[in-house]
Amino acid sequence: MNSVIKTKGVTKIYQETVVPVQALNGVDLDIKEGEFTAIVGPSGSGKSTLLNIIGGLDNPTEGSVAVGGKDISTLSQNELIDFRQNNIGFVFQAYNLIPVLTARENVEFIMLLQGKSKEERNKRVEYLLEAMGLADQIDKRPNQLSGGQQQRVAVARALASKPKYILADEPTANLDSKSTADLLDLMAQMNQEEGVTFVFSTHDQRVIDRARRVITLEDGKIVSDK
């Protein structure tokens, strides 16, 4: 398998407080295409920071990050936005759907930004929402959906642009057991069907149990990789 996400000596120091906080301390990571990986660790271990840096949402203080063979630490803010739009799908803990758009429109949104044709959008939206078991919820707004349903819409949104990588930050933290199981099934299915590489940050045992690779972070360092 090809190596698609590669970090080398990634360090992140936040200078926002009086005392600088070191969130990551020389992280070397190599994720292969199609992996289903969980990054675990206690709160404050640097999981979300690492995910943000891999996703180009944040810059490392030191070190380099290559995603799909491209060193994203050298990209400008606008180049990063384009890069994310075409390569990366995000799933957030709090779903973060656009409240004024329906499930269909939320999923379609990113494809509109990409300038995809109406026909292509409709086809993809229907396929994804069907796959997520939300075919009958297509015209509902987020506040009309349950937490589990919202997160499934969020996954569909993340997959809509046909990204190569999905970065999911604590995706099951707000879900009950059944919703978590359903969501993980769907993600595993998409991993298989679309060949998308999934990287989770989580401390949810249910996610850890389903992951094929588990990387443990502590105090900004990788302490185990199984």
Partner: protein, 406 residues
């Protein structure tokens, strides 16, 4: 379309706040439009009063008449003057007038009066004296009779059929003297005119002043006030002679123009104060909208929406909010202005005296000039565009990770 849809739905997220913001703009626009409409309506009325009685929209005069207004500087009638009506699209009428002064007497009573020789038919469209008749009948071109104001009739104790004696100085020093029966008494809305004016058919005035076929001015009446300058320019070019002076009403009454400009400026200051207050209100809404959606902006940027697109949506929201307020404001103010345009408010009592002392008809008439309404839309567009700078700066400096942590 996506951005419009998104912006439209975003502004209705918090219905109550949006409605309050729209209502505040509505009231500002309503007050601004009504104020401007009444102001412009008053100016238009004032100008119309003066134009109709004193100057017309413009005048053709002898080149020396404006400096020295005597009958000696009158001009001889030429067919080319009335030809102008045919050759200028916006020129409705070219009306001859003979204007001078005389001493009027009746019995033992004497009074200095303004004598106006008029073309009775054409003046129906200008001064409309027939419509102001109080008693008697309107004069005709061949009449050897006079029409006087009610105030003058009262001063000289004249009634219908009584004889008015006029004495004055005519063309090139000729003696002017004549007796004219009173055919009609008019009630002129401007008291100065009502107490002073004597109207004679043009031929009678020319005979009285021994100035056959002469007149002091050819009054130009234009279809719309906005076409005055163009018509004056065309008439100047058509006459093409240095014998004549062609002037617009604004050139003949610069003090009126100045008075209007001064009043308009003070009105504008009031408007700016009003809009500044409303501006702060809108800014409050924008401030809240920006603060509470910081996280969402971060998410949108995370999933691939560029700053430019995000700025466009936010700008559209603010402009939409402004325009909804403007449209509501215009929808409420237009019927109000239209009513007072069609049914001018007539002052009575002390207010009537105040207006009339200024030589203005005591009437408050609103204007429905589209520019009054459009200017408010333009102003709100400018204000909201300026206020939109705040979220634009915020979005420009937004870091998605920090925003999502908010």
């Amino acid at each position: 379309m996506l951005y419009l849809k998104l912006a439209w739905r975003n502004i209705w997220r918090n219905k109550r706040r949006t409605l309050i913001t729209i209502a505040s703009i509505l009231f500002a626009v309503f007050f601004a439009v009504v104020m401007r409409s009444v102001q412009e309506g008053s100016y238009a009325k004032m100008v119309d009063n003066m134009v109709r009685f004193y100057t017309g929209h413009g005048q053709i005069q002898d080149k020396d008449y404006w400096e020295e207004k005597t009958i000696d500087n009158s001009l001889a009638y030429k067919d080319s003057f009335t030809e102008l009506e045919r050759t200028n699209d916006h020129l409705d009428f070219v009306v001859p007038r003979m204007e001078s002064f005389a001493l009027a007497s009746s019995g033992n009573l004497t009074k200095g009066v303004m004598v106006l020789g008029i073309h009775p038919e054409k003046e129906k469209h200008v001064m409309n004296l027939e419509g102001k008749l109080d008693t008697g009948k309107y004069i005709q071109s061949n009449d050897k009779a006079a029409l006087i104001g009610k105030g003058l009739a009262k001063s000289l104790k004249l009634g219908l059929g009584d004889t008015l004696v006029l004495i004055g100085s005519g063309y090139h020093g000729a003696n002017a003297a004549g007796k004219f029966p009173i055919k009609g008494i008019i009630k002129y809305p401007l008291p100065d005119i009502d107490k002073q004016a004597v109207f004679l058919p043009l031929k009678e005035a020319q005979w009285f002043y021994a100035a056959e076929d002469r007149m002091t001015s050819m009054v130009l009446m234009v279809d719309k006030a906005k076409n005055v300058d163009g018509v004056v320019k065309n008439v100047k070019a058509s006459l093409g002679s240095e014998e004549y002076e062609v002037m617009s009403w604004a050139e003949m009454m610069p003090e009126v123009v100045q008075q209007i400009e001064l009043d308009r400026s003070s009105g504008k200051i009031m408007l700016w104060i009003l809009y500044a207050i409303i501006g702060f209100g809108i800014f409050g809404t924008i401030l809240m909208m920006t603060a509470e959606r910081r996280r969402e902006f971060g998410v949108l940027m995370s999933i691939g929406m560029s700053r430019g697109r995000l700025i466009l949506v936010t700008w559209l929201e603010i402009i939409m909010l402004g325009f909804l307020g403007v449209l509501a404001g215009i929808a409420v103010s237009f019927p109000f202005c239209y009513y007072f345009y069609k049914n001018p408010f007539r002052f009575t009592g002390e207010m009537q005296d105040v207006y009339e002392k200024m030589g203005i008809e005591a009437v408050l008439q609103a204007s429905i000039d589209p520019s009054i309404f459009l200017n408010q839309a333009f102003l709100i567009f400018i204000i909201t565009s300026i206020l939109a700078i705040y979220p634009i700066i915020k979005i420009w400096n937004l870091r998605p990770v920090a925003a999502m942590r908010a």
